[in-house]
Symmetry: C2
Subunit: 146 residues, 2 copies
């Protein structure tokens, strides 16, 4: 059991969101946004369900969190996401000026790192948390699809 309010604790909740996506036959990526140890947004990928390429877990979480906070800048917030954000989500995170991003599995092909390198100067980035579990659910999904 992960220590309460640790990075692992919140990433396990993001993993649970990814599992929800998996069950809906969506590419299994999950995200949560936390402010002062409180989860203010939870989301999973819904691109197929909503027929919308912009409906990535992170995008929905950013919109929900800003809605909750009543402000568009996600200061003192941390995003936990099971997969390295893509260029679109990296761009959105840049605009949000979010304080911290923690992701699980890397995505060397579609992730933001290879394309844009970094996020906002105000954003701390931590990678590889629960990397194996976050990667495993993706592998399992694509194996099932073959």
């Amino acid at each position: 059991m992960a220590e309460l309010f640790s990075d692992e604790y919140f990433m396990r909740i993001a993993l649970n969101e990814a599992a929800n996506a998996y069950e809906r036959d969506e590419i299994p990526v999950g995200a949560v946004i936390v402010s002062n140890n409180k989860i203010i947004a939870k989301a999973h990928n819904l691109t197929e369900t909503l027929i919308d390429v912009t409906a990535h877990a992170e995008m929905q979480a950013i919109t929900s969190a800003a809605n909750y906070l009543g402000g568009k800048y996600l200061q003192n917030c941390t995003l936990y996401v099971t997969l390295e954000p893509c260029v679109m989500c990296g761009g959105a995170l840049y605009w949000s000026q979010i304080s911290k991003v923690v992701y699980g599995a890397s995505d060397p092909k579609r992730g933001f790192k290879a394309k844009i390198g970094e996020l906002h100067p105000k954003t701390e980035v931590i990678s590889g948390l629960l990397e194996d579990e976050c990667g495993e659910i993706m592998k399992s999904f694509f194996q099932k699809k073959r």
Copy 2:
């Protein structure tokens, strides 16, 4: 008067959307998406009104167009947008596999070109259409703000 269904014709409608944003005190960027000479989505920047950094004109237009088409890929579609898309919107356009993007003013600081270089290999990009008018409305907006 621009020739019917020419690139300029549709960009003038995008400029009209930008003017709508200006009137709402939003950074004046407008976008339309056209399929077979039919406008299937029109949008303008709403980041302040919606308190949402993801509410760029292009993002809303992509979502609307996919909704209209009932499919998430924007094949045979052209986006007309008054300002060079940012990294977020460039990433979304990549996922959409849109056929053509026509933009007006360049955005050397925040535009996709400097950061990610290109969009999807299936996407033709045309820049600088009505560049002066598209840039002028931005300049006027920021001068007013000072």
